[in-house]
Chain length 336, copies 2
C-alpha cells in the first residue's frame, strides 16, 4: 500500500440548520508551469489516481501524433475524446462518428456499460427495455481516441488497455513530458472503464494541467496538441460532460479562460490559460459534492474568477442543500 | 456553527490496484447501557444528526403510548415505521395499511417524494410516466407512525413536523429517557423528509441503541415498546430497508442478535440484544460506502459476530470494488 499516508486538510463543510453536518477532507495544490508550488492544502505529494481528470492529457498522446489531422476530427469530437460525457445523443453521435472515421466499431471499445447519468437517455432505455452498450459509457470518447492513436501508430486495436501496448506507452510518454512523472517508478490500477489509471503525486497532475494551459515548455507537437485540446474543450464545453455538468458549466461561463476536468473519487484538475497556473484537488473520501465550491474558491484566489462571478456559477460557489420537499436546509461551503 | 470541531479517525480505506485510492474519516463509539464508553475512534462527543438512524427511537415515542395496541399494528407495520424503505410494493402496502387504520391519507404525510432506490419500482414509474408520491418516500413509514401517535395523543395531524407539536415533544422525551439528552440545550435541523432531525453527541445515539436493546433501565411503557420494536425489526428485517439493504441483510443473517439502523450522511447505530452494547458510527464525509465494513468490524470486536461469520455477511466485511466490466479492481476495508 502507499508508503506515506498523508494528513488531509479540511476542504469543505456541509451544514444543516444550525450545525455542520458533514466535512470533506483532502488535498489541493496550485503550481506554475515551472512546477513551483504556489499553494497547498493537505499534502501536495498525495499519491492520487487522477481517474477521468487525466483524460485531456491522455488525449494529448493521440493529438500529438496528429490523429486529429489524420481523421479530420472536429472540435466536438476532440472534446468528447477528453470527456466524461453523460451519454446524451450528441455525445453518442460524436463517438459513433469517430469510430466510423477510424474504421472501428463499438465492439472494439473496451469500456463496460455505465449507469447512464442523463435522465432522458436513461428513461428512454428503460421504456424500450434496452441495456446501455459500451458507447453509453462516459469514457467511450476516451476509448475511441485511444483507438485512433492505435490506428496512427499502426498498432493492433486489441489490447490498447494493456500498460505495455503502444497506445499506453505514448500516454506514459506524455506523463513524463507534461507532468515530470518518473516512469521508472510508475504504478497503476485499473480504471472504472478497464484501462490503466496511473498513480501520481497530486502536484504532478496540477503540473500537467499547467503545461496543458501554457504549453510553451512542451515539444512542438505536444504544444500544438495542447492548444488544439484546450481550444476544442472551450469551443464545445457541453461535449466534456453535458447539460448542467460542472466542467461544462464552468467553461461555458468563462470561455477561453481555463481548461478543467473532473474525475471519479473526488478529483478535479484545471489549468488557467492566461497565467499557466495548474490546480489539482483530491477529495479523500471520493465525493464530488465539495468539488465545485473548492475549485471555484481556488479560481477566485488565483485569478480565473476576478471581478464579478458569472451568474451561472453563483449557485456552485455555495451549493444549497435541499430536502425532498425542495426546502433549503443547509449549504456546502469551501474551507480553502 | 459547532462549538468544537473534533478530529476524526481513519475509519476505512478504499484500494485500487496497488494503492489506497480513497479514505473515509469519522467517529465511532461503543457504550454499555449505563453509558460507559467501551471504545472510541475519533471523538465520541462529535455533534451528529443521526438522521434515519434515529427512527427506532422516534418509533419508541409512539409505541410507548401504545399506538401498536390502539391500531393493532403487525410486526411488518411496526418495522416499516422504523424503516428507510426502498419503496418496494410490500413497503408501500404496509404504509397504506397504517394510514387506513389511523384514518389518515397520503395527503397527511409531510414527506416529499424521494428518488426511488428499488430499481423495478423506479422503472415501473418511468414506464408508466408517473412521479413518485409521498408514500414512496423512504420515510413514509416514520411519518405514518408520527400520525398514529398524533391520533393517540388526540393532537391535530397537521403540524406534526413542528418541534413544539405534541408528537415531537414525545420524541424529545424519549431522547431524554433513552439517550440522556439534555433537552434544555437541544438543537435541530430539518431532515430530508421535512421533520426535525435532532443534533446530539454521537455517544448519546449509541446509548439510545444500548437501551433499546437492553431496556431494563427504561420506564415500563418505554421498555415494553423497545422490546416490541426490536422483535418486529428482527421478525421483518426486509421491511426496515428492503432486498439487499445492509440493515435488512444483517438482521436476516443474525436473527435476534441485534437491532441496527442506518441514516443519511454516513450514520449507523446498533444495539446488541444480549449484552446491551450500543454502537454508533458517523462517517464525516456523509458516505455510506464504508459503513458495512466498519460496523461489522465493530460487531466482531464486541461479540455480535463471534465464531463463523454468516455467509450473507462475508461480501460486506471487505466489499469488492468492481469496474464497469465487472472486474475486481480494489476493495473497501475497515481500519477500526
Amino acid at each position: 500500500m502507499n508508503s506515506r499516508p498523508s494528513a488531509p486538510a479540511l476542504l469543505a463543510e456541509v451544514t444543516r440548520g444550525p450545525a455542520v453536518e458533514s466535512r470533506h477532507f483532502g488535498h489541493a495544490v496550485v503550481v506554475d508551469p515551472n512546477g513551483k508550488v504556489l499553494f497547498a492544502a493537505g499534502d501536495p505529494e498525495h499519491p492520487t489516481y487522477p481517474r477521468s481528470s487525466l483524460k485531456p492529457l491522455q488525449a494529448l498522446a493521440g493529438l500529438s501524433k496528429r490523429t486529429d489531422q489524420a481523421f479530420r476530427f472536429t472540435d466536438a469530437e476532440i472534446a468528447v475524446i477528453c470527456a466524461s460525457h453523460a451519454a446524451e445523443p450528441r455525445h453518442r453521435e460524436a463517438v459513433a462518428r469517430i469510430l466510423e472515421k477510424i474504421q472501428a466499431t463499438e465492439d472494439d471499445l473496451r469500456c463496460g456499460p455505465h449507469a447512464v447519468p442523463h435522465a432522458p437517455t436513461r428513461d428512454a432505455l428503460i421504456r424500450e427495455d434496452r441495456q446501455p452498450t459500451p458507447i453509453y459509457s462516459n469514457c467511450s470518447g476516451k476509448h475511441s481516441g485511444m483507438l485512433a492513436l492505435a490506428r496512427v501508430l499502426e498498432a493492433p486495436l486489441h489490447g490498447y488497455w494493456e500498460a505495455d501496448h503502444p497506445v499506453q506507452r505514448e500516454i506514459q510518454r506524455v506523463l513524463a513530458a507534461a507532468c515530470d512523472t518518473d516512469l521508472s517508478r510508475l504504478q497503476w490500477g485499473t480504471d472504472g472503464c478497464g484501462v490503466p489509471t496511473y498513480l501520481m503525486p497530486l502536484r504532478e497532475l496540477a503540473l500537467g494541467f499547467a503545461r496543458l494551459a501554457a504549453p510553451d515548455r512542451l515539444s512542438e507537437s505536444d504544444a500544438a496538441a495542447a492548444r488544439r485540446i484546450t481550444a476544442a474543450m472551450n469551443a464545445e464545453p457541453e461535449m466534456v460532460r453535458g447539460e448542467g455538468g460542472f466542467d461544462s458549466v464552468v467553461m461555458r461561463a468563462m470561455p477561453g479562460v481555463l481548461v478543467c476536468k473532473g474525475g471519479a473519487e473526488g478529483c478535479e484538475a484545471a489549468g488557467l490559460l492566461g497565467s499557466g497556473i495548474g490546480i489539482a484537488v483530491k477529495v479523500e473520501d471520493g465525493s464530488a459534492r465539495p468539488l465545485a465550491a473548492v475549485v471555484l474558491s481556488l479560481f477566485q484566489r488565483f485569478g480565473a474568477l476576478s471581478g464579478s462571478v458569472p451568474e451561472a456559477l453563483l449557485p456552485l460557489l455555495r451549493p444549497v442543500v435541499h430536502n425532498t420537499r425542495g426546502e433549503e436546509v443547509g449549504e456546502v461551503h469551501a474551507c480553502v
